[in-house]
């Protein structure tokens, strides 16, 4: 029986009913400008501060360390360019990052390279994990910032953030992490883990698109992102996206309150999915099998191409994604898969399935029922598969 299975939650998630319910009054009832004096304005101000607390509590930060943004990319740009420009005044023009960051980080540091900054791109090895000792070895006198993602968006590998934080603290280098994929899936404690800046996004955890936040540790000198009014303590001016921020607060509160049971349930589903799909011959799991996000599945199936696999899955009602060239919009497959050492021809045949708490065991059953048939259908018409079979006969 055909089902509809949304399994691309690392791309975005549906807004949850609780989040939507909390947001709606701020469009029609409490529509005032939070900067206004009268009651509909004041009524919109309070929930902003509640949301700030909800976000802060989830990260063990102080509320005044949370600055709302339009999303993860904006937070990444602000964190990296802000610190880079601030510390360049002191002659610090070196940034350390990894080869498989999200483009919001990679393209930002590349833009800084054009301005004359030096960037070190750390290896992520076959398991897709940065080594803290590599971070330490890369730190120089003029290092301004280390930016390493908390968890990778494609292969879901969770980075040793506490260890990297300790290295940065030891060498008095600022540490930023893009935690867009990790928030709500991994226990984050910015104090304990020595994180100076952290980016997050609402729409990955059932809040709406267009809202996110940057955590900036107290006392850090940070240039304003948007000059204008006094919103976000003058650092990011512009009338607040009140409803979106309220949604983010509720989503963060819920994600952190349910983290334990949810990640346990998702990990089981993920492992069942990986075990089932691994029965397909000449398949491989991408990224560390254990140190990975609870809902992340990323596998390659030799001899087929990712986009055609996605289209066939879509016909069967399953929404997923791939790191093939055809889905990346360029001729090269995903930089993440190349960074973990996959050859081009194998990287083209990747499939990412990302589950959220709205997925069920029945969804996993259905994916495992449909996937092997699609892989063998595409292999039957693939001259590359003929060649693989011939070479391994």
């Amino acid at each position: 029986m055909k089902r509809f299975v949304y399994a691309d939650n690392a791309a975005t998630t549906p807004v949850s009913q609780d989040v939507l319910k909390a947001m709606l009054p701020y469009y029609t009832e409490y529509y005032g400008n939070p900067s206004s004096l009268y009651s509909v304005g004041r009524d919109a101000k309070k929930p902003l501060e509640l949301a700030r607390e909800q976000v802060a509590n989830c990260l063990n930060a102080f509320p005044n360390e949370i600055f709302f943004t339009s999303g993860g990319s904006e937070a990444d740009n602000w964190a990296i360019k802000g610190i880079a420009h601030e510390l360049a005044k002191k002659g610090k023009k070196h940034i350390i990052t990894s080869k498989f960051e999200h483009h919001a980080v990679l393209h930002t540091v590349q833009a800084l390279e054009k301005e004359g900054f030096a960037v070190t791109y750390l290896e992520v090895y076959e398991n897709g994990i940065v080594r803290p000792e590599d971070v330490e070895a890369a730190i120089r006198e003029d290092t301004a910032l280390v930016s390493i993602m908390y968890a990778n968006n494609e292969i879901g590998t969770i980075q040793p953030i506490p260890e990297i934080g300790a290295v940065c603290k030891k060498h008095k280098v600022l540490f930023h992490t893009d935690a867009v994929q990790a928030v709500g899936n991994v226990v984050i404690d910015v104090k304990e883990q020595n994180i100076d800046l952290l980016s997050l996004s609402g729409h990955k955890l059932h809040a709406p698109k267009g809202v996110g936040a940057l955590y900036i540790r107290r006392g850090l000198r940070m240039p304003n992102l948007v000059d204008g009014g006094a919103q976000e303590r003058g650092r990011r001016a512009g009338t607040e996206n009140v409803a979106g921020i309220v949604g983010l607060g509720v989503a963060m509160q819920q994600a952190c309150a349910t983290i334990e049971e949810r990640t346990q349930r998702l990990t089981k589903m993920r492992d069942r999915l990986i075990a089932g799909a691994s029965k397909i011959e000449r398949s491989r799991l991408n990224g560390d099998p254990v140190k990975r996000l609870p809902g992340n599945f990323n596998m390659c199936f030799e001899g087929i191409e990712g986009e055609s696999l996605l289209l066939k899955l879509d016909f069967a009602g399953i929404c997923a994604s791939s790191g093939s060239a055809c889905t990346s919009g360029s001729l090269d497959p995903s930089h993440v898969l190349l960074a973990i050492g996959l050859p081009h021809e194998i990287a083209h045949g990747s499939l990412r399935i990302s589950l959220s708490d709205q997925n069920t065991e029945e969804d996993v059953d259905y994916i495992l029922e449909v996937l092997p048939g699609i892989v063998s259908y595409l292999r039957d018409m693939s001259p590359l598969w003929d060649e693989i079979v011939r070479n391994h006969a």
Partner: protein, 150 residues
């Protein structure tokens, strides 16, 4: 990515898929690094392409253009098949997204490669009829080296 209904139809129900028994011309173009390989099989009798089939490793557009190309040359003379351009394949599919145009180029080249192989099998030098088929190879840079991919 928006594919036309025709592209989706040829992807979902590809025509003439598989190997062709009694083929007297087989051509293969593309490479696995670029993410697409097309292999075209033809059976020529009395200068007419009596039958044709394909096998393709590639994206939705690669499979759809292969399928459409086989339909467009089935029953045609060699001369007619050689005149088939990638634009004609695209037109027949109601267009392709810009990043997928190279798939139609591959389809055109696959037909030429199969005809080249047919001539060779007949002991005839194919060069005067077909000329050089550019090989689509790209290094890990931004642009494809085959010239026709842009």
């Amino acid at each position: 990515m928006a594919y036309s209904e025709k592209v989706m139809d040829h992807f979902a129900n590809p025509r003439n898929v598989g190997e062709l028994a009694g083929a007297n011309g087989i051509g293969e173009v593309g490479n696995s690094k670029c993410g697409d390989i097309m292999r075209m099989y033809i059976k020529v009798e009395n200068n007419i392409i009596q039958d044709v089939s394909f096998k393709t490793f590639g994206c939705g557009a690669a499979i759809a253009t292969s399928s459409m190309a086989t339909e467009l040359i089935k029953g045609k003379t060699i001369e007619e098949a050689l005149q088939l351009t990638n634009s004609a394949v695209m037109e027949a599919l109601d267009g392709l997204p810009p990043v997928k145009v190279h798939c139609s180029v591959l389809a055109e080249q696959a037909i030429k490669a199969a005809l080249k192989n047919y001539y060779e099998n007949q002991g005839i030098d194919p060069t005067p009829f077909i000329g050089e088929i550019p090989e689509c190879h790209h290094d890990h840079g931004d642009s494809c080296g085959c010239g026709s991919c842009e």
